[in-house]
Amino acid sequence: MIQAKNINFYYGSFHALKNISMKMEANTVTAFIGPSGCGKSTFLRLFNRMNDLIDGTRLTGECRVQGDNIYGKQVQVDELRKRVGMVFQKPNPFPKSIFENVAYGLRVNGMGDRKFIAQRVEESLQAAALWDEVKDKLKKSAFELSGGQQQRLCIARALAVSPSVLLMDEPASALDPISTSKIEELIHHLKKNYTIVIVTHNMQQAARVSDKSGFFMLGELVEFSDTKKMFLNPDKKETQNYITGRFG
């Protein structure tokens, strides 16, 4: 389970997230929607401490993953990122072979057992619904894959180190409809074993893949509810205006 409590986040003097609290249950998909600059990606990045890399930021409040305060002093960020994987908007495979891309996380974490690595690479590629397409060309460069395949490769790379949470920041926004559909299908399958949080600008995608949705605006969490409810009968007028296109 992931929990955020009274989160306030600042870029310098800019108050980007305002007193946000929410709980995301294990093995569910949660979607964050909202206009550009509303804070949804900033909020997502808090859960594997990606915002730490940005100078001048400040956080108050509490972020917990499976009960652990991930901003506690004893927390090792590398270890956290093994538990909380991330997939970005643009597929970003390494300039290595398909096999080595997936094996990378295991190797940098000190795993030397070739048999184990091969097995884990296969499992991860299968979980990412890519194995059948690449099993005969594992040594080829990852750049030879299509955009959709590269994105699934990045998902396989994230899965290889056995995370419990997968964060996805607009994972299909650069993909064609067929690749998008494969990623969405994959999300449905992955939630059996992972807790997934996805940021998307595509509201129909949020409606299709998620169990719960959070609507952000101007750094505030306006509404957080079951996706079906949000897309049929949202509680807040602002949510309705946004999802029906009347916003602005």
Binding site: Q204, M230, F231, L232, N233, P234, Q240, I243, T244, R246
Partner: protein, 242 residues
Amino acid sequence: MKHTEREMQSLKEEVRQMWKLVISQLEKAKQSFMAGNAELALEIASREKRVDAFELKIDSDCENYIALYSPVAVDLRLALSLIKISSTLERIGDFAAGIARHVIDGDCHKVDEKLMEDLQIEKMFDTLIGMLSDGFVALESENTKISGKILAKDEEVDAIYHSAIDVLTNYIVENGKLKVENDNNNFQLSTFNFQLEERVRCGLKLLLVIRKLERIGDHCSNIVEEIVFYVDAKVLKHRKDE
């Protein structure tokens, strides 16, 4: 106004036009039935095709709207409601045309002044026209406060329908008793049997008209339920007891 809002307004306008036509069909059905005006009944029957055409057009436009604009929340509820409302209005139009055909057939009209009064058919017509008009206002103003009042009127219509069955039963039984009293006069008996058969046949035909009116009441209730779904996102269907 945004393009998507214009599309929605255009859908609503089509339903408004259809609604007005169906109210007019029902008003004319009342006039033609109460006065036995076959000419007016023919007009109703010919305008029935326009009601059907509206239904097809609204169905098609709602399909396009859903496919092209992927509406959600209140917009999705509106599109779904309009599809169902137009289909229900078409059914009401069918019933109005059915009543008109009864008038066109020409027989069994005003079999008995007293019977017609006891059946309260005119009151039924007026109540239904009121329900349909109130429903129109509810959609127009997106105000569901009136929905309870409309649903209560359906109960009035049902009560008239049930009482009409009793009235018609008594009407037929009373004539049956007369037959027994006249049993010893063969000439009178054959004349009377002809009259009796005719009156029973007309009684049954009247029952069919009353049944149509009762069904129109149910359809008006269904329309109100759709408006409540659209405006308040509440499902009233199959929850009459609650």
